[in-house]
């Protein structure tokens, strides 16, 4: 079976460097410079995969990134295997292993192939129609779909490769290094523009570099020879950076482009080691020149998908660039002159071309004579009506086309062949152009979408701009470049150009067959198995918008995004619906142009670099003392401090008891702190908090609640008046940045007349919160000079003191209900002050506690946590915190909203306490609450927001939001859980020390 189809040494292939690789477990050989596709074809392997829906055998179809069929799994036996790689883009290296995808047990015998014979059961919208009914069957269908469909397998361990990001700023970015891109980049750089030239291939020169068309001449030399000299000169040009193997994935607004530079995929394993695999280039270019070329179109006819059926241009590239014959008996099928070039290329290399089938009546191109001289038979005005061969093409049947092109006449001619080149014309690669937001226009005569306008910042040159013939390309490029770069002359102005011109055109989107369409399989999207029949069915069923037809038939929704067949889909829709293609518009091309690995997208931002961690100044002490940590925003906070083999529950119970019975200490450094100064600081606080601030005396603290303008609770915290025009505000840990942002917003945009300055000082202070009946004694040991009497230092007041000459702020405030002091020290002394508290507290068994105990202690007191007991739908009234809403103040943020009809409703969800009938049952936070158990549908009254087992009360306690909860005191409600219903009683939110006696204990 293995056969060598290498026909002629190629200058692009290093035949001295033989490379072995494995495909589907078998070893093959190729040469340095081969892609996996060219090496497989050289070994006469075309069958490389199965189609998605019908599991039809599929072969290599193209030679580039538009490949729909040859999608392979790289390193299939490794747990870092990579799916969905295009064989046409993989450069082979010693040790490469790849396998077919989407087939089981093997590409040659595929069980799913039975779908092919069941095809009448798989029409457009099949998945929508079938698997949606009956609903209960979905799980069974899903099992079936998942096992028989699927595009490759994903890796199951962490990607070990290194990826990188780089920012690039340039004057001119040129995308595509074909003849247009090279001339554009060269002239830009020569005129002192800092220029970057990118191409997805590993070689420069595009398709010109390997064309063997004697009719295309520049300065009386072949165009490819002339271009080689131009490429050679690039080396000596300053200001020009060239990156090959670099594919532009996205083109965003303001000339911001993302490109993937592939650095090591083509290297052998040992050379890959410790190197960056791929780099994401983030490019901001002043000007962008798109020279992305054109993609050859297939032709849509019955059974146009057999292995061995390829794009005509790909066959030419395999022969001219890789020196590989795609078949031993070749046929071309075309609607334009370009297939004749491919045919002649093969013929000149001694590869047999049986015939050319042309749907046109004739062509007066010069190349026709050469084809005739070569003795290749041309069938004018014929079309292929069917093809033969299951795993490899073995022949075609052709018939004469009717004059209007909608039917076939005469008798059927059968021709045997093992390779068919199809040439349906060219589609400008406008994907990046449209991604940038620019609009297309439809050229009715040539049946192509082309860029509508060039701008000061962007032009499209060469075939992506709609210029296909050499003289047209070069002349327009010269004109466009001069305007775009504002230069007088290019270095290629005045070169002599000779080339043939195509004058005869005929386009038929869906070629007729002698069979009715229902009996044919004309594939439009090869990867997703969408046929012209499916598109027509969608239209019959009433779909009109191109975007809807696309989704219903899955046309253009594969990994290739329908690069080959989208135009035909549009054409068939236009023909069937009787509208003009220009009016139909086109589907949106979305980034990425070709798929990107996640590794490239995230770059270095993995593992510990995924997000910023913030740690408090006391962090080292917490680690030394075996704290478990929890993430709060970006902060790592001490969660609890387990002793020996304590569970979390045991540790929290112990910590909670200690804090109430003797002394506890909490690291509260993460609370947001905003320094507020200015002559209008008091007025400012009046406007942002619900309560009044003007009368707060210097040295006093006050709790404040901040609302959104919609009246819902936004944040809370204690603010201290440090001086006449000086306050320090604390916010919740998670809300700090947003609160600062909101305050700045109001100051700058609504109240610019206020004299207020805000500074975030969260990181400037470390905060140790001492709590419990013995906290006063401990503080007294640390600062013996300070009078801690309730007269001198009462609850909700502040003192500035020196501890070991370190200036500290102490607030006597409490979030636990116990006597409590918060010591704020400069951050760099945080650990020292903390240590001092621990030392002084030893005799009182001072117990460090974490966030979990803090939450429990505050829940015992019914203090809310914004974001846990509130969710952006709770007003202060809903929280039973009416006491903090000033009735006297004329206005504050959110005040008016508290008087809206909805917020004033009596039966809104309100915060209440819940006590379980069985005091040992702890409710689940988030559990739903109902009043009736046997009612259907049952009304959800609310949910549990906080729930703990209180060691100080020796029972379970919970906070919950319940519809009309305020009026339900003492009522019995139920929490239905998976296995049981829990009975609860609605209670007050304060469970412990309702009279606040412990604050002064």
């Amino acid at each position: 079976m293995t056969q060598n189809l290498r026909v002629k040494s190629s200058e692009f292939i290093d035949e001295t460097n033989r490379i072995s690789f494995k495909f589907d477990g078998k070893t093959y050989y190729g040469f340095k410079g081969d892609t996996l596709a060219s090496a497989l074809i050289a070994n006469n392997i075309h069958l490389v995969g199965r189609s998605f829906k019908y599991h039809r055998p599929r072969g290599i179809m193209t030679s580039g990134s538009e490949e729909p069929n040859a999608i392979v799994q790289v390193n299939p036996n490794s747990n870092i295997t990579e799916p969905n790689a295009r064989a046409t883009e993989i450069e082979i290296y010693e040790g490469l292993e790849a396998s077919s995808q989407n087939c089981w047990p093997s590409v040659n015998f595929d069980i799913g192939g039975i779908n092919n014979f069941l095809a009448p059961l798989f029409p457009a919208g099949f998945y929508y129609k079938t698997f949606m009914w009956p609903k209960s069957f979905w799980e069974k269908y899903e099992f079936f779909i998942r096992h028989s469909a699927g595009l490759g397998k994903s890796p199951n361990t962490r990607d070990p490769d290194i990826y990188d990001h780089r920012n690039i700023h340039c004057d001119v970015l040129v995308v595509g290094a074909g003849i247009s891109g090279i001339l554009a980049a060269k002239n830009a750089a020569k005129n002192n523009f800092k220029t970057l030239l990118l191409d997805e291939k590993n070689e420069l020169g595009g398709s010109t570099i390997f064309e063997a068309n004697e009719d295309n001449k520049i300065n009386h030399n072949s165009a490819s020879e002339w271009l080689k000299k131009e490429i050679n000169e690039l080396k000596n040009i300053k200001n020009l950076e060239i990156k090959t193997r670099t594919s532009v994935a996205a083109y965003h607004q303001y000339n911001y482009l993302l490109a993937r530079e592939n650095l090591t995929d083509h290297l052998v394993k040992k050379d890959k080691k410790n190197k960056i695999r791929q780099r994401l280039l983030k490019i901001r270019a002043k000007k962008v020149i798109l020279a992305t070329g054109a993609l050859e179109r297939p032709l849509i006819f019955n059974n146009n998908d057999r292995p061995g059926i390829m794009l005509s241009s790909a066959i030419k590239k395999y022969s001219n660039f890789y020196g590989v014959a795609c078949g031993t008996k070749n046929i071309f099928f075309t609607n334009n002159d370009s297939a004749y070039e491919s045919a002649l290329s093969l013929h000149n290399k001694g590869i047999k071309v049986e015939a050319i089938i042309d749907i046109r009546e004739n062509s007066d191109a010069k190349i026709i004579k050469k084809i005739n001289d070569a003795g290749i038979k041309i069938y004018w005005a014929h079309t292929i009506v069917d093809t033969r061969g299951y795993k490899r093409l073995s022949g075609v049947s052709i018939m004469k086309l009717s004059n209007d092109g909608t039917s076939v006449t005469g008798s059927k001619i059968s021709i045997s062949c093992d390779c068919l080149g199809i040439a349906g014309g060219w589609t400008p690669a406008v994907h990046l152009y449209t991604q940038s937001g620019s609009k297309l226009t439809f050229d009715e005569n040539r049946k192509i979408f082309i860029p509508k306008t060039d701008t000061k910042e962007q032009i499209s040159v060469g075939s992506c701009g709609g210029d296909f013939e050499l003289d047209e390309i070069i002349t327009n490029l010269n004109y466009k470049l001069k305007n775009f770069l504002n230069i007088n002359k290019t270095d290629f102005e005045g070169i002599t150009l000779e080339n043939d011109h195509e004058t005869s055109k005929r386009n038929i989107w869906l070629l007729p067959s002698d069979q009715t369409i229902g009996k044919t399989k004309p594939f439009v999207d090869y990867q997703n198995d969408a046929t012209a029949k499916d598109i027509k069915l969608a239209l019959r069923e009433g779909f009109r918008s191109i975007e809807h037809v696309k989704r219903y038939t899955t046309t253009g929704m594969g990994t290739d995004q329908g690069k080959l067949g989208n135009m035909h889909a549009l054409g068939i829709i236009a023909d069937t619906a009787g509208v003009k293609m220009g009016e139909l518009g086109t589907t949106t091309f979305r980034p990425p142009y070709t798929p990107l690995t996640f590794g490239t997208i995230v770059g270095r931002n993995v593992g510990e670099f995924f997000d910023t961690f913030r740690r408090t100044p006391m962090n080292d002490w917490h680690i030394k003392n075996k704290a478990e940590f929890e993430n709060v925003g970006q902060w790592k906070r001490s969660w609890y401090y387990p002793k020996e083999d304590e569970t979390m529950h045991q540790a929290v119970q112990r910590e909670s008891k200690a804090a109430r019975q003797s002394a506890g200490i909490l690291d509260a450094s993460t609370l947001g702190k905003i320094d507020i100064q200015g002559s209008d600081a008091s007025e400012f606080l009046n406007r942002v908090y619900t309560n009044a601030w003007s009368k707060l005396a210097i040295g006093k603290c006050r709790y404040g609640l901040m609302l959104n303008e919609d009246g819902m609770v936004y944040d809370d915290g204690v603010t201290t008046r440090l001086g006449e025009n000086h306050y320090i505000m604390t916010t919740t840990t998670g809300g700090a940045a947003n609160v600062l942002g909101k305050l700045e917003d109001y100051l700058q945009t609504e109240w610019p007349e206020l004299d207020v300055y805000l500074t975030s000082v969260t990181d400037h202070f470390a905060t140790a919160s001492l709590c419990g009946p013995n906290s006063k004694k401990i503080l007294n040991k640390i600062i013996p000079d300070l009078d801690l009497s309730d007269d001198n230092f009462p609850h909700m007041s502040f003192k500035e003191v020196l501890i070991d000459k370190i200036k500290c702020r102490i607030m006597r405030i409490s979030f636990t209900g116990e006597l409590s002091y918060e010591i704020n020290a400069p951050a760099s002394y945080g650990e020292a002050i903390w240590q001092k508290c621990i030392e002084a507290g030893k005799e009182f068994n001072i117990t460090p506690y974490g966030t979990e105990t803090m939450h429990l202690l505050r829940a015992e007191k019914g203090f809310i946590i914004v974001g846990q007991d509130t969710d952006g739908t709770m007003t202060p009234i809903d929280l039973q915190m009416d006491w903090i809403v000033s009735k006297k103040k004329y206005d504050f943020i959110g005040k008016r909203s508290l008087y809206r009809s909805d917020t004033m409703k009596e039966d809104r969800k309100q915060l209440v306490g819940l006590l379980t009938e069985d005091p040992n049952i702890v409710l689940e936070e988030g559990a739903q609450i109902v009043s009736e158990l046997n009612q259907k549908p049952v009304e959800m009254l609310g949910h549990v927001t906080s729930s703990y087992f209180s060691p100080n009360l020796n029972k379970s306690i919970a906070l919950a939001v319940v519809k009309d909860g305020k009026s339900m005191m003492g009522r019995k409600l139920f929490i239905p859980m998976e296995n049981k219903n829990i009975s609860v009683t609605v209670s007050n939110t304060v469970f412990y020390d309702e009279k606040n006696e412990r604050l002064n204990a």
Partner: protein, 91 residues
Amino acid sequence: MFLINCPYCGERDQQEFKAGGEAHIERPKQPTELSDDEWAEYLFMRKNIKGVQFERWNHAHGCRKWFNMARDTSNDEIKAIYKMGEKPPTQ
């Protein structure tokens, strides 16, 4: 990704900025005088037009200043950038 010309810092990448919704909606000076409907108009109703839209932007990872932008939402062209308190440009 836009390139935004902060009136205080100059041209910077969009990722330094935060969008802040529709511009020129002034907070009523006397909210309590407003009917529920009038207050709702201020609080909830925002335009979402295809064409030139006036927006608030904040240079959050820069000078932290708020400013206004006139942006054509159909093609993302930034027509004008002007400081808070300044009148929107007439086209």
